[in-house]
């Protein structure tokens, strides 16, 4: 089939089909845009190779530190609640895996929001004919975080071997799905924190707040009681994000209530975050004009 006949056959199919082919479906279009963003991110990262490797070292060091802390704690106790040492290592691994994957896709972008607002660069992004939230959430990819996520997976495998775990396919897929919900919660909460900069303009403490908040995600949920537990389960569900997936993997789930709560809270966080983003962006007054 030559070029001409291709055009003809499209015309024969009628105007509706023609417009469809000329404007690719939304999914394909956004896929293409995201592919381009990846390409530029890779180029950017590779232009500072030394720095790229050093950041991986920094993250690994902090991860190793958390594991040391667990090691030291279990010198003095046999369990935290019902959590044994290797179960907590599995938890720390899962927590790091979720956090690093989230970081790879979203963190840099969420952090940059306040800068976009402060300098007025948001103007340019708002004018582009694509969903603004999509663009500002996914502009940059942090490749080093993928490397660190692999180390987290390695630690989890080691802990699973120590625990003699043989997860079924359902457990394994359930774990991955719940990790995805965990990433969604990380992203939704952080995006809300970032959207505060539409109100205050100067929001430097955002990353700091984020790290403090998700610091507790790697702690076993049974260490908490009372108001603290309620707040960090039902308002800011950080106590669920890595505890529930780990419980699924480690056969520690007594009832399905926990993962249902995680799913529900994931949906609530995503909706509230979208609502907050919409009322925030309405407050945007361009800095340059």
């Amino acid at each position: 089939m030559n070029r001409k006949s291709k055009v003809e056959s499209r015309e024969q199919a009628g105007p509706g089909a023609g417009t469809l082919a000329a404007r690719p479906s939304t999914l394909v279009r956004y896929g293409g845009i995201y592919g381009t963003l990846w390409k530029t991110s890779v180029t950017r990262e590779m232009s500072f190779k030394g720095n790229f490797i050093l950041w991986i070292v920094v993250e690994l060091l902090w991860f190793a530190m958390q594991l040391c802390f667990i090691g030291v704690l279990y010198l003095h106790t046999n369990s935290i609640g019902t959590w044994t040492q290797w179960q907590v290592v599995l938890l720390v691994g899962a927590s790091s895996f979720i956090q690093q994957t989230y970081q790879a896709f979203f963190l840099t972008n969420c952090v940059n929001v306040s800068e976009l607002v402060r300098t007025g660069k948001m103007d340019f992004l708002l004018m582009l004919p694509i969903n603004t939230r999509f663009l500002i959430s996914l502009r940059q990819v942090d490749l080093g975080a993928f490397v660190n996520a692999t180390f987290a997976i390695a630690v989890m495998f080691y802990a699973a071997a120590k625990l003699n775990l043989h997860p079924t396919a359902v457990q394994f897929l359930g774990f991955l799905a719940l990790c995805a919900v965990g990433i969604l919660i990380h992203y939704s909460l952080m995006f809300m924190l970032a959207a505060i900069s539409f109100w205050t303009v100067r929001a430097q403490g955002i990353v700091w707040g984020y790290y403090n908040l998700f610091n507790i995600a790697r702690m076993p949920d049974e260490a908490f009681r009372g108001v603290f537990k309620v707040v960090f389960t039902f308002v800011l569900p950080v106590l669920l994000v890595s505890n529930v997936p780990t419980r699924v993997l480690a056969d520690k789930l007594q009832s399905p209530v926990l993962w249902l709560v995680l799913l529900g809270m994931g949906a609530v966080c995503a909706l509230v975050s979208e609502w907050f983003w919409r009322i925030s962006v309405r407050r945007y007054t361009s800095a340059s004009t």
Binding site: L54, L61, H76, I80, G209
Partner: protein, 266 residues
């Protein structure tokens, strides 16, 4: 000398414009602190006895004191600012003026700490009051006095080490990775994460050959009477020694850096 007092005064005013930032920082830092206390409470709940010589009350007091010492002595953004000054050529003016950059930054560091303390004081006091029944008072007058002196030395040590680290900006463009790597070691080896007594004794002993324990564990242990008697005086001397060493090292790094300095965009 008088000019550096002015630096402190201006620094306090500048820093107080960030009071909301400081307040949110303080409030957010209570989340992991409270989580840590809950974690230890759960561990103690399982056995009731002392762990590594710490009762539950002492363990909780340890972490609360770490929070206090941190507010009073931690380097906040000074190292980033110094690195930025070098990178962007702002230090050129200090080479011309009769103002010493190290003393200038030290003045700003102190003013930053004063401003931060003023903002953090009330929320931290409320937080500690919530744990009032666990909070232990200094064992005696000497411990209290030694704690206060050691606090000043801790602040100086923290500052000089950070200053020396920031000098790396003379040679590399991006110093934050180096600062974070050092911070990771400081965080675990200074006793920020847990009292060093929970470590195996040999490891704890080895750490005392580094300056890290004198950045946190040492002043807190003085307060709690874990270090007393002859050890107290010897420790204070060693801490002062580290301060002098860090100061000399900071000066050395500056002098080497200046020779390398190109004054771009100054």
């Amino acid at each position: 000398m008088k000019k550096y007092w002015h630096v402190i005064g201006i620094g306090i005013q500048n820093n107080l414009t960030y009071r909301v930032n400081y307040l949110t920082r303080t409030l957010f830092s209570f989340i992991p602190l409270f989580a840590m206390l809950s974690l230890w409470r759960t561990i103690y709940g399982g056995q009731g006895a002392a762990i590594a010589g710490y009762t539950l009350a002492q363990m909780i007091s340890y972490y609360l004191l770490v929070a206090v010492v941190d507010v009073l002595t931690a380097v906040n953004e000074d190292d980033w600012q110094i690195a930025a000054d070098i990178r962007e050529g702002n230090i050129s003016q200090f080479l011309l003026k009769p103002v010493d950059y190290l003393w200038f930054r030290l003045g700003l560091f102190f003013s930053g700490r004063i401003a931060f303390t003023v903002v953090a004081l009330v929320p931290l006091a409320i937080f500690i009051a919530c744990f009032g029944r666990y909070f232990v008072l200094p064992v005696n007058g000497i411990a209290c006095l030694a704690f206060l002196v050691s606090l000043v030395l801790t602040a100086l040590l923290q500052f000089f080490i950070s200053y020396a680290m920031a000098m790396l900006a003379f040679w590399v463009l991006e110093v934050s990775t180096f600062i974070f790597i050092l911070f990771a070691f400081e965080y675990i080896a200074s006793g920020h994460m847990f009292p060093l007594d929970v470590l195996p004794p040999a490891l704890k002993h080895a750490l005392f050959f580094t300056p890290f324990p004198y950045q946190m564990y040492f002043p807190v242990s003085l307060y709690m009477g874990k270090i007393a008697g002859a050890d107290l005086w010897q420790g204070m001397l060693v801490q002062a020694g580290w301060v002098v060493l860090a100061y000399v090292f900071a000066r050395f790094m500056w002098n080497r850096g200046i020779r390398h300095y190109g004054a771009f965009g100054g």
